[in-house]
Assembly symmetry: C2
Homo-oligomer: 382 residues x 2
Amino acid sequence: MRDVAIIGVGMTKFGELWDQNIRDMFAEAALKAMEDAGVKKLDAMYVGAMSSGLYTFQEHIASVMADYIGQVGIPSTRVESACASGGLAVKSAIIEVASGMSDIVLAGGVEKMWDADDGSMILATAADQEYEGFHGVTFPGLYAMMANAYMDRYGLTREELAQVPIKNHKHAINNPNAQYPFPLNLDGVLKSSMVADPLRLMDCSPITDGAAAVIVCPLDRAKEFTNKPIKVKGIGAATGPIALHDHKDLTRLDAVRLAGERAYKMAGVTKDDIDFVEVHDCFSIAEIIVAEELGFFGYGEAGKAIANGQGTYGGRIVINPSGGLKAKGHPVGATGTAQILEAVTQLRGDAGKRQVKDAKIGMTQNMGGSGGSSVVHILEAV
Amino acid sequence: MRDVAIIGVGMTKFGELWDQNIRDMFAEAALKAMEDAGVKKLDAMYVGAMSSGLYTFQEHIASVMADYIGQVGIPSTRVESACASGGLAVKSAIIEVASGMSDIVLAGGVEKMWDADDGSMILATAADQEYEGFHGVTFPGLYAMMANAYMDRYGLTREELAQVPIKNHKHAINNPNAQYPFPLNLDGVLKSSMVADPLRLMDCSPITDGAAAVIVCPLDRAKEFTNKPIKVKGIGAATGPIALHDHKDLTRLDAVRLAGERAYKMAGVTKDDIDFVEVHDCFSIAEIIVAEELGFFGYGEAGKAIANGQGTYGGRIVINPSGGLKAKGHPVGATGTAQILEAVTQLRGDAGKRQVKDAKIGMTQNMGGSGGSSVVHILEAV
């Protein structure tokens, strides 16, 4: 396999983008990434989108987007793995370049969520429709069960759990692309509407419109395009049980652990080499379990550690410097690509006030459903 | 890039499968392919499905399927490119093996179409929603415009056009998995219901439930699994304009020509080396234009040539020995994988009464929308 580098990134602002349709958003992110890399012609592209069919009644979106960014003719493939679609699109692009099939490949993620009036039901298509969907369960309910099991077993308090979104909102203040770049305090979490006990509105990532894109090429060509190439050091993906009731343990996400192990192995690094991590905090409890599955904290320890400042600047590891899904926003198909963009921005040293000092190696973790899929990338400044 | 071989294939019967849901169908095809290859453990898998969200309200289908065939834990990625989803899933699996990332990879396609009551509208999500969909155009109308333009320019008669489905039904009689394995005569076509002038019901591929799967591995390992490995000699994919009004010529499908050129180049063969071809005859006119874009006939010549027996046994080249989309059936996400299965079956010499004599090199051509995407594979018996 050839070594691969990321040479360009671009994204829209995340939020309620009433003035942009799904094409406009994707094109903005893709063209910014191409401008960032200084490339005018792509060899191939991948588009991550969870449910463009249900959200916008447009499938075949990879061809739509190739056409709309002026690249008609190139191979273009949509990749879908629920909320991990964007991360898997980047992984697919990396594999294509690693194989030698193509040199300059764009991977973009996009989701237009605000135009639909039944967004939570559409998101529920990422769960097991025959068993979970049939019984009316949606994701807040599934993650609430995980939160209850975790809090019961490990004694995590409601106040400690609230520190996850509080931290992520604090990080987002310095992210100009974030949907909710405002501070959040304990009262703000604890007095927000109950969604699914114990999860309140401020534990839940929002509905978001947005797109993000990255461009990859062979590492040995990267210097043609940028003086700050970012090497793809490791990638790992895995599936987990599609239904939460098939998890052996409600406080574990096997797909995350497997994806992490595969990425660490390929990269030849350990958790101690990682300077920051963007994780999939779709709900506050998710960030805690993911941080444990990736090895940054022991089982049962991440919740209290994050509440004690170990997940932010000056702590054990900076988790979600971008603000994460909770505060940056979660346009599901774009989330994985936006995580990679944040990692690249940090590794380039371009993150401004949210810069992680001396960041050399960063990690991203993107997830589908209640752990039905996950994909992990390890990136390095070279 | 490593050379890649196909070592196993499997499919369901195509038709109205009221007793099987989307999981049952996929599992049947996948497990048959695994049994055919003699493999119990996969390294990764790809799932081609056009619109599992709109048809069955289940996205995240690659994880669902990995779980349901007992392979939970492996990376699994859904690929979507409308009716070319299955072909692109196979291409993605080939690239992953070629890269060295994985050895044993399954690519399956599936679509459960009969359960939806608005199937034609769901298919229309493969067209340009903002322009074509907005005006109410669906695919029979788009292909009817292509048929009218072709018939007008080249003098193809309505009776000659009818010979495409008549030939494909004749082929399907010998395919035990075909949805409509019965003969069709000229009256049967010309007196069938008008759908979109000049296309009648018997010019249109049907609504179909079904699944098909193939397993690929490095060519140098293929003999561990089979004494009849089929080498992947060339692959090519391309996009075309998503909207028909952006085609420079209504009688051309640029994506097909580009995909074919790329596959021929990679394979190092020409049209004269191809012994048979499975093409995407979603409508009778499509088979004609595709056969021209792949170089088997000059522009304007394929319609009359097929009517004169040049597209069947004993003619210039056997087109759609399986019966094609028209008579074998068209479960959109599964069509591309089923084409590969037919090519493998022919190249193994296992096609029984529909065997193409001395078949050494075969081609498949899968297409999305009105030519918004296409993917071509060239396979060889080794």
